[in-house]
């Protein structure tokens, strides 16, 4: 029986395994060093905040794996020998494979800051990181002040976590406004305000210069590059992005760049070796997408696709229209299609904000053809299916605004904003 070995039990690896099982009775083994069972990385914050226990983050009950004949193996793969089709583990064990799927995810970036490896300095990616936050910052007596470096999605989640235990948080953001490499001005500023409402000490245009140690090798303070200001702290969260977790592959024949290089079939340069999820890098970016996409959904979609190929139905990885979502403290965010931080040539943004400053939408469209290109919504839920269809059908912004009601996904009885939005758009056209 063909043996499919998957390194990594995250969403990418597990989705691949599930789909391979559905289509075949091949032998499947999933390897992970991090945890015995698959858990949802996206839910780590809720465990620290007390919304859930760790076991609640596990999407499948423990019997699921045995029942579906998916072998789970805990251990760290140190080396991949592609010629012998064999993996070598840190403890010396070996494992033979027929087909190998690399789904090893990411690791937090560290940019060589002085002091980045001190005690009390950490990223937030793995289960172990979560355990460490609970140790380094259990409450506001042990941790009187925390500093977070790097203004992305994980940074703001970490800030929310620490605030839930009443820990003062200073948030160093390199950009002039939160996540404004991705979010247009309006949305980005809305989140700035919301963070301040949550008593997060937001420092924009601020870089970390160094982290200072006390006598015991524990963080004592940090220094801000721009101002030279020294902030005493007991905890530093490094959340300046992630990069593929592929160090162990460097010694192999598998071709890598920043990630494991794959073609559209998710195949690496070596036959029978595939890569999916955060760690995979497309040789050529697909459409407007980045070559490495470190999000949950793409990991899942690659898993769905590679399973087909492995089971003999060779299929290209063809992600549909871009979508994503996040939650910034209390404000939910969804996006469908493309809304870039700044309109590109011949594009325009229509931005509307509700008077409470917690609800807004931004629609990106083509100035000449009026074609709808994408939408950001904050504080309003939208239907994925409807926007996916409208994007495929290349609807105009006028159509979208006229039919916005159909796309609304807010719970029943919620206040509706379609008319206000529509009126604002017409108004803008008149004044423009």
């Amino acid at each position: 029986m063909e043996h499919i070995v998957i390194i990594g039990n995250g969403i990418a690896g597990v989705t691949a395994a599930r789909h391979i099982r559905k289509k075949s009775d091949k032998k499947i083994t999933i390897i992970s060093e991090e945890s015995e069972y698959f858990f949802s990385r996206t839910a780590l914050m809720y465990v620290y905040m007390g919304h859930m226990k760790f076991e609640h983050t596990q999407p499948y009950e423990n019997w699921f794996w045995k029942k579906n004949k998916i072998n789970l193996k805990q251990g760290f793969v140190q080396q991949v020998e592609t010629t012998l089709k064999r993996l070598i583990f840190k403890n010396g064990e070996e494992l033979q494979y027929d087909k190998l799927i690399i789904a090893t995810g990411s690791k937090p970036n560290k940019f060589g800051w002085p002091g980045q490896d001190l005690k009390g300095v950490q990223g937030l990616y793995s289960k172990q990181d979560l355990e460490n936050v609970s140790l380094n910052a259990p409450n506001n007596k042990v941790c009187k002040q925390a500093v977070i470096v790097g203004g992305g999605l994980i940074g703001i989640e970490l800030a929310e976590m620490l605030r839930s235990r009443g820990i003062p948080v200073t948030f160093l953001v390199r950009e002039s406004s939160f996540w404004n490499g991705v979010l247009p001005k309006g949305e980005s500023e809305l989140i700035n305000k919301h963070m301040i409402e949550h008593h997060i000490d937001l420092r924009l245009s601020s870089n970390l210069k160094e982290i200072i140690s006390d006598e015991s090798g524990k963080v004592k303070a940090i220094v801000i590059e721009e101002t030279g200001e020294v902030i005493s702290c007991d905890f530093v969260g490094l959340t300046a992005g992630v990069s593929p977790n592929i160090n162990f592959i460097k010694s192999s024949e598998i071709e890598i760049n920043r990630g494991v290089l794959v073609n559209r079939f998710l195949e690496t340069n070596i036959k029978d070796v595939f890569a999916i999820g955060d760690c995979a890098e497309q040789r050529e970016a697909i459409g407007e997408r980045r070559a490495i996409e470190a999000v949950w959904y793409t990991g899942r979609m690659m898993g769905e696709t590679v399973a087909q190929t492995i089971c003999g139905n060779k299929i290209e990885y063809k992600p549909g229209h871009w979508f994503n979502s996040a939650k910034f403290l209390d404000i939910e965010y969804q996006t469908y299609g493309w809304v870039f931080a700044k309109p590109r040539e011949n594009e325009a943004h229509f931005y509307w904000e509700y008077s409470n400053h917690k609800i807004c939408i931004n629609i990106n469209y083509n100035k000449t053809t009026k074609q709808f290109i994408g939408i950001n919504t904050f504080g309003i839920r939208m239907r994925h299916e409807v926007f996916d269809k409208w994007l495929t059908e290349e609807k105009t912004i006028d159509f979208v605004l006229e039919n916005l009601k159909e796309a609304n996904f807010d719970p029943e009885f919620f206040k509706k904003y379609e008319q206000e939005i529509s009126a604002a758009f017409k108004n803008q056209l008149i004044t423009a």
């Binding site: 809720y46 007390g50 355990e131």
Partner: protein, 471 residues
């Protein structure tokens, strides 16, 4: 730390209470302590004054505390600390509360004299005596233990309902739903029946909570109750006809259009208590597949039981024998059902075990009315929880906070709508979802159940290819 240990043991220090919160808590506790002192046997002088103070303090204190707690934070989901808190995480406080509640129910059902109830209806003492003035006010009769229970029940739903509304003030579904819950309890289950009781004190007793229909109200068709309704004049006949109409016509029709939620999480008394007082315990329900199996067995068994019991009871009624093939219907059918299901299950276990098994044990495993509506909801209804394409991140908030123990995530992460007999439509899964994945809605039956393997967002051809093969 061991492999799969829970992080909840790293209990962070309690956040501090401010003066107003403390004031609210102290008031509520003072109000409660009057109840407890009375329970321990102290018969208060001036019961009118003490009862008023007690009720006002409990309600006012809770409202002050809740308002101060929530209004000072930005509106949003407030589940911080739920799994660190001794009360909501089956800690010492939780178990203690469970024991107190259970004890209360046991006394209520079988030993009311320990609550101060005088079976001869002459002179109550202790807790029941405390409620005499209110009972006298409504119906010129001193209180029974059931009057005490009804009043406390209503007080709990009202105070903790207001707390719930502060907690979910950003969510209009929850605000409207909870307003209806409170009004239903206050008017339909409490004030109207008590006032009618007072106005018709010459008539024999029959149940006057119009929405508490058979088979939840299991004694509706029992001979004494049927007789009392028939001898109850126009009002009695009205309740008899309405009771049958509600069950046979009204319920199926409304359930078809909006799902069983119209009852279970909007007007029902048991549901009302679970949604308000039980809100702190909703996360304790078991989400395992095995508990789902047990659930289906139990709830349908109870349903079949009450159908059989009622059929036999009616047979006995119409043949006028009180016997079924020579055995006493009361001793072998009505009484055991009333004891095991009516009292033990719905009361003692159903509410007493809130802090241990979660707030909907009865609704999920026992209630025959829920079972009945569940069949409609599952097979013939326009209600479903729509899953928003591919947006789910499998975080598990929805499943954790589903009081009915539905593994909502199992559906959402497959892009599949949730169509489940047991869903009471509380809307909390939708509220806590951080990615806007879930929406309770009514719509055409076609396409209500939509099994998918490959989710929206991926290659359209692949989606069509794989998903079609399913059916």
């Amino acid at each position: 730390m061991s492999k799969n240990s829970s992080f909840s043991i790293s209990n962070p220090d309690k956040l501090k209470l401010d003066t107003v919160q403390k004031l609210g808590l102290v008031l509520a506790l003072l109000g409660l302590s009057i109840i407890f002192l009375a329970w321990f046997g102290i018969t208060f002088p001036y019961p009118t004054a003490f009862l008023s103070i007690s009720i006002l303090f409990i309600f006012g204190g809770t409202v002050i505390y809740a308002r101060q707690t929530y209004i000072n934070q930005p509106a949003g989901i407030k589940n911080n600390y739920v799994w660190f808190n001794s009360l909501s995480n089956r800690g010492v406080l939780g178990w203690l509360l469970g024991m107190v509640l259970t004890l209360f129910y046991v006394l209520l059902y079988w030993f009311p004299s320990y609550l101060g109830y005088d079976a001869n209806g002459v002179a109550n003492t202790g807790l029941v005596a405390l409620f005499d003035p209110l009972s006298l006010f409504f119906k010129d009769k001193i209180a029974s233990q059931w009057f005490v229970y009804g009043t406390l029940y209503t007080l709990l739903i009202t105070s903790l309902g207001v707390k719930f509304m502060y907690k979910y003030r950003h969510n209009r579904y929850q605000l409207i739903r909870t307003t209806v819950v409170i009004i239903s309890q206050l008017l339909l289950a409490y004030l109207i029946p008590e006032i009618l009781e007072g106005l018709n004190s010459d008539l024999p007793y029959f149940a006057k909570d119009i929405k508490n229909m058979w088979p939840l109200n299991y004694y509706f068709f029992e001979p004494w109750h049927l007789d009392n309704m028939r001898n109850g004049g126009t009002l009695g006949m009205l309740y008899l006809v309405m009771g049958i109409f509600m069950f046979l016509v009204f319920t199926p029709i409304i359930t078809y259009y909006v799902g069983k939620r119209w009852y279970c999480s909007w007007v029902c008394g048991c549901g009302g208590l679970a949604e308000t007082a039980g809100d702190s315990f909703r996360q304790l329900s078991s989400k395992t597949v095995s508990s789902w199996k047990i659930e289906r067995w139990m709830i349908h068994t109870v349903m079949v039981l009450i159908f059989i019991v009622t059929a036999v009871v009616l047979y006995g009624y119409f043949t006028n024998t009180g016997e079924f093939f020579g055995i006493s219907i009361y001793s072998y059918f009505s009484k055991p059902y009333g004891f095991l299901i009516g009292a033990m299950f719905s009361g003692v276990v159903g509410v007493g075990f809130y802090p241990v098994l979660g707030s909907r044990v009865w609704c999920r495993f026992g209630c025959p009315l829920a079972g009945y509506m569940g069949l409609f909801q599952r097979f013939k209804s326009r209600f479903r929880i729509t899953t928003n394409g591919g947006q789910c991140i499998s975080c598990g908030n929805c499943s954790t906070y589903c009081e009915q123990g539905i593994d909502v995530r199992a559906y959402a992460q497959k892009g599949e709508n949730i169509v489940r007999a047991s869903c009471v439509g509380c809307g909390i899964c939708s509220a806590v979802c951080p990615r806007g994945v879930l929406k309770l809605e009514n719509g055409p039956e076609e396409g209500r159940i939509n099994p998918t393997d490959v989710l929206l967002g991926n290659d359209v051809d692949l989606m069509n290819f794989v998903n079609k093969k399913q059916d």
